[in-house]
């Protein structure tokens, strides 16, 4: 067995022999993953809204062949927000206490106004001053909901108009706007008029025949115009049609961002701290001086610590992904690609930690320095922006985060993943060389 493998086996043995460290290695990333994921996904929560229904009379409205009520409307809203049906005073108290984000009031006569069409019915929305951002989000959601509901109503009204046009043209049974009876229609009217015209012509009433010809012409022109009105009405009801398609099953972009962030924070801390502590411990235990006496070369010592950190990252990362796949709707997918991503990320994180460990004289100092250096750089990797992007690209955390997000969120594999992996490999090599040079120049304790 080579010196490299002997050291690797030694480090694995020491790790396994420390159940608390193992528990922390597994538990801490899961905790971080949960916290980061929760924080980043909080925007996806349905806001709680109090609904005050003051419309006690005329609870339903007939639109075409559908009868709508306030409850129908609220049920539709319930898809977008978490509705709490309350009285006016209770709703105000809940809003003041911050337990709801807004109060939606359905005024008295809402359904009546909708029925009559004389006055435009209006909903009243009061949002919380405590959280203006959430208030804006609630307003946007309700605007979208009202828009969708209005669209549905408009389409129903247009259908009624089209049916009325059909009735005027073709005749038939009246059955809307509260009226009933038989309508003659233009087609049948024309048949009757033409028949009457023929009879008058047979009896020699030429003047009356010519006057009836004007009526026939009017019927023909009206019918032609009304034929054009049907598609025009349909286009007014739906000026622009949106064809929607569902993406890859279960993919939620914000969730993907959250899980990628949690992976980055967890694995970066695990990889950096393990490698930093590993290198510093060799100095602190004074074994470095013995190893360097021809037993193991400094580059081999650094490589062993980096590989050990990468192995730990792969195990912890796999555990995290299994947890994500089992406990969330997020499609982890592409397990085959996760392996190189986790390996290269772990190597790069380990190399970063090895460099810190080579510079520190004690394990505790190495851990503290690694934390102080890695944490801000990890969060720089999470923040979008041109200025920080440059910083994030010269340390392993930016490309690792990019690779994690690509695998979690992109339906198609972009070429950027190859660039991220190449960058991670390059950074790992460069940091490893720097750590070797630094450790070679260091005097053992």
């Amino acid at each position: 067995m080579t010196a490299f493998l002997l050291l690797l086996r030694k480090d694995l043995r020491l790790l396994v022999r420390s159940p608390i460290v193992v528990a922390v290695l597994i538990g801490y990333p899961l905790l971080v993953a949960f916290l980061v994921s929760s924080a980043l996904q909080s925007e996806e929560r349905r806001p709680a809204i109090a609904v005050v229904n003051l419309d006690t009379a005329g609870r339903t409205v007939q639109v075409g062949d559908r009868r709508l009520s306030v409850d129908d409307y609220l049920n539709r809203l319930d898809d977008d927000v978490d509705l709490k049906r309350l009285g006016a005073d209770s709703a105000t108290r809940e809003l003041d206490a911050g337990r709801v984000s807004a109060v939606l009031t359905i005024p008295a006569g809402f359904i009546g106004d909708l029925q009559s069409g004389v006055r435009q019915p209006a909903l009243r929305l009061v949002t919380s001053r405590r959280s203006p951002i959430e208030g804006q989000a609630v307003t946007r959601r309700l605007e979208a909901a009202v828009y969708r509901f209005n669209q549905g109503l408009a389409a129903t009204y247009v259908q009624q108009v089209v049916r009325l046009v059909d009735l005027v043209v073709n005749g038939g049974q009246l059955g809307f706007f509260g009226r009933s009876g038989d309508a003659l229609g233009l087609v049948r009217t024309r048949v009757l008029v033409v028949d009457l015209q023929r009879r008058l012509a047979a009896s020699g009433a030429t003047a009356d025949t010519a006057r009836l010809e004007q009526i026939v012409n009017f019927i023909d022109e009206t019918q032609s115009n009304l034929d054009l009105a049907r598609p025009a009405a349909a286009s007014i009801a739906n000026p622009i049609a949106l064809q929607t398609a569902t993406g890859a099953s279960g993919r939620e972009p914000l969730s993907a961002f959250g899980v990628a962030g949690a992976l980055l924070v967890s694995l970066a801390l695990v990889g950096v701290l393990i490698a930093a502590a590993g290198v510093a411990a060799e100095r602190e235990e004074n074994t470095l001086v013995r190893l360097r006496r021809g037993l193991v070369s400094v580059p081999a010592i650094i490589a062993e610590k980096i590989v050990f950190a990468a192995l730990t990252c792969v195990v912890v990362g796999a555990a995290l992904l299994v947890a994500v796949a089992g406990l969330t709707d997020l499609a982890v997918g592409r397990w085959g690609l996760w392996l190189p991503v986790l390996v290269l990320s772990g190597l790069a994180f380990g190399a970063f930690g090895a460099l810190v460990g080579a510079a520190a004289r004690e394990t505790r100092t190495a851990l503290l320095a690694a934390l102080m250096l890695a944490l801000p750089l990890v969060f720089v990797g999470l923040i979008p922006g041109d200025t920080v992007a440059l910083v994030a690209r010269v340390v392993p955390f930016g490309p690792a985060f990019s690779a994690f997000r690509t695998l979690l969120a992109e339906p198609n594999l972009p070429g950027g993943l190859v660039a991220d992996l190449s960058l991670l490999g390059g950074l790992a090599a460069a940091l490893a060389v720097a750590a070797s040079l630094l450790l070679s120049r260091q005097k053992a304790l």
Binding site: L14, E285, T287, R290, L295, L445
Partner: protein, 250 residues
Amino acid sequence: MTGHASPLLEATGLVRRYRGLVALDGVGLTLVAGEAVALLGANGAGKTTLLEVLAGIRRAHEGTLVWSYPDGSTGPAVGWVPQRPSLYARLTTRENLRLFAALERRPQPRIVADELLEKADLVGVADRPAAQLSTGTRQRLNLAIALAGEPRALLLDEPSATLSPDQRHRLWTWLAELRREGMALVFATQSVDEAARQADRTLVLARGRRVFSGTIAELIARHPSDPASAGDPGERAFLALIDDPAVAAP
């Protein structure tokens, strides 16, 4: 034990600098099998630097250093025993020995480890983590690890500095056995008495230079003092040597 034919080590004119500071200034040393040489000097005199250069931990900027053995082989086949034990505290005594025997590329590291446990009288603590060993036992393990590579010479940096008298006695008894088997020793110490008792020759270092080479008796003869004066005559002679203006001058 001096006077063997061919030397194991011939070092001449060793120079080592640290950022402009001369830590070793033209020091030479020869060593034969079974010989014990003490390096005596104040703190910063260059004892540890000389040992590290001899051990191959540090490179000499100037000078020559040749290890050669009766079988014709060359290279630093030496065991390094640093002042602070160099071992893995969370591995057991046995695991430490097996690991270093394997790193030394010994064919049967398990057997080597068991033999070293016997020799170092560590069988009773073989399966105890090194962190739980007493200071003296840790130093014995430190020495046993240095023997894992079958060295011809041991380089020891103040091996008894932290030991109690009984632990010190036990350590030197074991080292004496090793010397009888042909092992050469070079050890740093700040105790003139230890140098007088345990070494065949003593090199006194001051400011990186060798200022004396010989026995402690010869040192006393060269720097006689009033027998009525307080303290050990060897220590008085040592102090007289390093306080000599010719030696103390930079």
